[in-house]
Each structure stands twice: as structure tokens, then as C-alpha cells.
Symmetry: C2
Subunit: 132 residues, 2 copies
Amino acid sequence: MQYLDKLRNSGLRPTKQRLQICEVLFNTEKTFHFTVNELDKKIKNNTGNKISLATIYNTIHAFEKKGYLKQIPINSNQTYFDTNVTDHHHFYDLKDEKLIDLENCDVGPINIKKKINGKKIKSIEVLVKLED
Amino acid sequence: MQYLDKLRNSGLRPTKQRLQICEVLFNTEKTFHFTVNELDKKIKNNTGNKISLATIYNTIHAFEKKGYLKQIPINSNQTYFDTNVTDHHHFYDLKDEKLIDLENCDVGPINIKKKINGKKIKSIEVLVKLED
DNA sequence: CACCTATTTAGAATCATTATAAACTAGGAC
DNA sequence: GTCCTAGTTTATAATGATTCTAAATAGGTG
């Protein structure tokens, strides 16, 4: 129920599948990172039924467009998404291949001195790679 | 000739293919960004002959491991590489899908306040997305 | 209910990248 | 130079994430 309005207000029909995906993504204390593959498994575990991969892709792209999810820029064969859509950055542990959130206050202000004519800064993303 | 020693000193045999790829990648005034697909075309244009895709992949991975190339962390279906291996950052123009270098001096110092036990910072990469 | 359009779906298609295994080659030993 | 061997190259097949397709289904409005 709690996601009905969220979806309706975004112009997305609140289908059974979308509501289930909302539950898995947003009905948690903490935000988290995931790949489509991991989300697929999580949906199966949490709800007991399967949603077609095509639908999962459709849905997360729709959610991303609406600002409910963010892609994390990182080189990997799979795309990583983040349910934390506030401005923040990431550690990437190269050995464990794990992402760790860096809150905005964990990173000093970032001052971009160069300007490009006719372009505005939309976002600034910092990836800090960690090794042992 | 100029890349023979570079390759030998890295423990890479200076094959015809690797020397040609060195020419295309490093024999330029300016550094540049590329995908494997673009590199493949560039090799054909510059040298007139074709190098197998498998060889191109092998070679750029070898070069990356030796520190002659860097991957640029960005979400794309293709992997972007950079012949500029100095510490620096990137603008990404969302509309034109173009990468633009940000020299280190274009970005103020970045202060990471959070520490992870037993881990060292290997690199810090900033991606600044641009819109119109 | 009836209708229309958005959505879901299984499966096929795409495409970057990696694996395979056979042919080739650099470079040292003789 | 010839031989030898491990490192390379190559065409091709395999992989795997993502996207496409077209048919079936389901919201939502009248």
C-alpha cells in the first residue's frame, strides 16, 4: 500500500510486480547496492515468486529515470545500482569487490575549477579504490 | 624502435602487433580516451592492416596491468580506456557522450575523512557529469 | 462490463568481452 | 644458421549482461 501513491504520482502504474520490487528495494532500514542479478535472487527469496528479468530491467530503468535509484559508475561487467539517491560517494574494495558508502560529510568539499561553455554540472561522483 | 625497450623492460615480447598498438596509443602529442572498438578502427586506419580483436584485448589488458593505460570508471556498455595515466579526473558530457580531461589542478584537493581498517587508498577518481 | 493502453513475459537477438586450441614467432642455446 | 620452447596471435566459439519482440495480461476509465 505504501508504494501505491509513490508509483501513481510518478505516472507509473502500480502493478503487482512494481509493488513487489518496491518492497525489496525500499522497505529496509538501510540503503544498499545491487546488481540486477542480485535483485532477481532477492525478489525470489523475499516474495517466493519470480518476476521476469525483462520486467526487472524495465522497472529499475523506470525507477532510475524517476530518481528512485542511481547507477554507480564503476567498471564491472554488471551494472551496480544504489538505493541511496542522496549525494554521496563510494569506496570500492578491489580485493573483496565490495562497495562501501562514503557519506557526503566523509569527503571534503570538491571544487571543480574548470568550466565548459554552455554546460552545467549535473553531478559529481567520487570513487575511492581500496587495496590491502 | 622506440617502444622495443619499453616492452622488453616490462617483460612483454615486442611483437609486430604490440609495436603497432604502441604507435597508435603512445606516439601522439596528446593523450586520449578510447574504446576497444575505436582502437580497432584506428589501427586499421593508421597501419592499413588488421590486428585480431583477441590480440587487441590481450594487449590493452597487458598494458593496463603494466600501468601504461587506465580504465575510466563510467557506466557504458563499452569500457573506456585512457592513455593519460597520471592522476586526473573527467568530465562526462551526457548529451554528447564525450569524456573531457580534468587535470589535477582543475580539481581542489580531495580529503577523504573516513578510514577502513587494514585498507589503503589506491586511487581517487572523480567523474563530473555535465548537462546543458 | 468494455475498452484501450501500459505492462509483463518468455524467448530470441545483440553485442562486448573472454575462452579455446591450433598456428606462429621471438629469442636463447647450440 | 638451426632447433627448441614458451609466449603470442588468430579465427572462431562461448559467455553473459542487457535489450528487443510480439503475444498475453492487467490497470484504469467510462
